[in-house]
């Protein structure tokens, strides 16, 4: 028997290895092809595209979407979806801004401002995490379909934002805070630093930790996962909380960049985010996909937006072109993936 198993295996293994390689890396290679072609085209069309400053510019602009899309990827991997990210982003941003602006009741300001910023940020992120957890709870405990649960949250959180801000922006939050969104550190924009770190953590979680494996398992076959002793409900609640927290961080970045919390921030961000996830090769039915794929999905979208403006395509045509290019990108990827 043994000899036999080996016999079967020997021709197979090398093949297998890169099949396996596929699964882990393929998606990445995939999106890279489309991304590469896209960049190539833009470089040829505009000499302004492939410049250091423009690349930083693109990266800074997509950092928010990437930030949100990390959480979205985890959610989608569990075969869920989160439509509330945009509203949670707005609410957390507004809360942080509000606390920063009016929330300082300490004697010696300049001593405590640093602390206050940190405090305001923490509260903002906590609020995002909490709303995310609520999503998770209504989905697991009350069995509400993720689409409905998070759609409800989308409306509620937007309403709360309006109530908290009264519908008016909260502006001029001070340079220290602005730095988070607009500053540079070691020649790299601060938001890019932040998202990079978040991406690395997310990759680590998905590839190396138990939580990561559980997320894939639940998306792949929920009942088998439950029978294997995985606490499905807890994992899902955690995942939605993470998504909420990341949306909140996204909110901080937006607010900091604008030096102002806009009550209508983040409207329809959920679409961009899900788009990044799906273009990145993650399946909406769960169980398959990768953070790195999502990052590339986000980059494709970002590069596209940037390119269309560089070429000063008229606002009308932009949408047409954008849609077609995205379609094309995904088709190219499919064509180049041995994946069913």
């Amino acid at each position: 028997m043994k000899t036999e198993t080996q016999k079967l295996a020997t021709p197979a293994r090398p093949l297998e290895m890169n099949v396996r390689f596929d699964k882990a890396q393929l998606l990445r290679f995939q999106s890279l092809i489309a991304l590469f072609l896209l960049c190539l085209a833009l470089t040829m069309l505009s000499d302004k595209f492939l410049t250091v400053s423009n690349l930083w510019n693109v990266l800074r602009q997509i950092s928010v979407n990437i930030c949100i899309s990390i959480g979205m990827t985890l959610v989608v991997l569990t075969a869920g979806i989160d439509l509330s990210v945009g509203s949670i982003l707005a609410l957390s941003g507004a809360i942080t801004a509000g606390l920063l602006k009016n929330g300082i009741e300490l004697p010696t300001q300049n001593l405590f401002i640093g602390f206050t910023i940190l405090g305001a940020i923490l509260v903002g992120i906590l609020c995002g995490t909490f709303l995310g957890a609520l999503n998770g709870i209504s989905i697991t405990r009350f069995k509400v379909p993720p689409f409905v649960a998070t759609l409800a949250m989308l409306t509620v959180a937007r309403g709360l934002t309006m109530l908290w801000t009264g519908g008016f922006p909260i502006s001029s939050l001070g340079d220290t805070f602005l730095y988070l969104g607009a500053g540079w550190f070691l020649g790299i924009p601060v938001p890019v630093w932040i998202t990079t770190v978040l991406v690395l953590i997310a990759i680590f979680i998905t590839k190396k930790t138990r939580l990561g494996t559980y997320i894939y398992a639940i998306g792949g076959n929920e009942s088998a996962s439950r029978l294997s002793g995985i606490n499905v409900k807890r994992v899902k609640i955690i995942v939605y909380s993470i998504a909420g927290a990341l949306a909140a961080i996204g909110g901080l970045l937006v607010t900091a960049r604008l030096d102002s919390a806009q009550p209508n921030a983040g409207i329809s961000y959920e679409l961009d985010s899900i788009a990044a996830v799906v273009i990145g090769g993650t399946s909406l039915s769960g169980g398959r996909g990768s953070i790195i794929g999502t990052v590339q999905g986000a980059i494709i979208i970002g590069v596209l937006n940037n390119g269309l403006v560089l070429l000063d395509v008229s606002p009308f045509w932009q949408q047409v072109v954008k849609g077609l290019v995205i379609l094309l990108a995904v088709i190219i990827d499919k064509a180049n993936s041995s994946d069913e």
Binding site: S46, K48, F49, T51, S53, N54, N57, R60, Q61, M162, G166, G167, F168, P169, S171, S172, A182, V254, R257, L258, D259, S260, Q262, P263, N264, A265, I267, N305, N306, V309, L310, L311, D312, S314, P315, F316
Partner: protein, 299 residues
């Protein structure tokens, strides 16, 4: 039964519906709240309806408002043409409609229209624009929502002046949906393609602030002149600090209060209202900014 219905209607205080195109933009929030305050002050029940920039939803609001027996409508249309039907229906139902800020293209549908003249407003901005660039330079135009007719009123008014100066070159024209963040990102990218621009004209103040932020980030804030439209708080302050050159001050408060007062007079029996009552858009610059506050003149 019908009789008693009307009778009980008599002793009810009159109710006023305030239907605005969107509350996703502080400008309209302010407009709506001013109208509400004034109406309450005059002793009427008032309720705000948000059409969310969706004319169909506006129609729903009209129907619901008429169904639930409102006696007058203070109206900020989503669309000059699309909203005509709604106003007409109200007229048929015998409910007066007073338009605020935005016009409906029908001379006698509305009882009266108190309008902010976006076109001539941006004409005067354009004049300032030409002057402060002294007739030459590269500029960028950032449009509002391409589906919104104020976007085009402003763009047209602006170009009706600026296009007469061949040395003023528009190097990019992009839309940012009246949104601060979008405006910033768009301009960031535009700056990549056109590093040496001299001015940016924005379809509203939210976008003007976004544009300014982009310029700061690119270290060009002092070289490039930014122009807005609205007279929003951030921009009025920025003009004070000479960060932004000029904006067109609209007077939402004035428009809203006038509309509410007209409704009051209507209830009291007055019928002959000016069909159109333009409220001038005033040019705000660092010279006269002292006379203004957010969305209006200093009292």
């Amino acid at each position: 039964l019908f009789g008693c219905k009307t009778k009980e209607k008599k002793d009810e205080a009159n109710k006023v519906a305030i239907i605005v195109s969107t509350l996703n933009n502080p400008w309209f929030v302010f407009l709506a709240e001013q109208a509400k305050e004034k109406a309450n002050e005059l002793g009427y029940e008032a309720k705000i309806f948000d059409s969310q920039n969706n004319t169909a939803q506006e129609t729903d609001h009209f129907e619901n408002a008429l169904a639930s027996g409102y006696d007058a409508i203070l109206f900020n249309p989503t669309d000059a043409d699309g909203s005509i039907v709604n106003v007409k229906n109200a007229k048929i139902a015998g409910v007066p409609v007073f338009c605020m800020d935005r016009e409906v293209n029908d001379p006698d549908a509305a009882t009266s229209q108190i309008l902010s003249d976006s076109y001539s407003g941006s004409v005067s901005i354009a004049k300032k624009f030409v002057e402060s660039l002294n007739k030459k330079g590269n500029y960028v135009e950032i449009l509002g929502m391409v589906g919104d007719n104020n976007t085009w009123n402003r763009s047209r008014g602006f170009h009706s002046v600026v296009d007469h100066y061949p040395d003023l070159k528009m190097v990019a024209q992009q839309s940012a949906d009246f949104d601060r963040n979008k405006a910033m990102e768009v301009l960031e990218s535009v700056l990549q393609a056109n590093p040496d621009i001299d001015a940016v004209f924005c379809g509203n103040d939210a976008m003007a602030m976004g544009a300014y932020q982009a310029l700061v980030a690119a270290g060009k804030a002092d070289k490039v002149k930014v122009f807005g439209f609205d007279g929003a708080e951030d921009v009025v302050n920025s003009i004070q600090d000479e960060k932004i050159v000029a904006t067109g001050m609209q007077f939402p408060a004035v428009m809203a209060q006038t509309a509410a007062t007209f409704a009051d007079e209507y209830f009291k029996g007055k019928r002959d209202f000016p069909k159109k009552m333009p409220v001038a858009v005033e040019l705000v610059t660092s010279k006269n900014v002292g006379n203004y506050v957010a969305y209006g003149a200093k009292k």
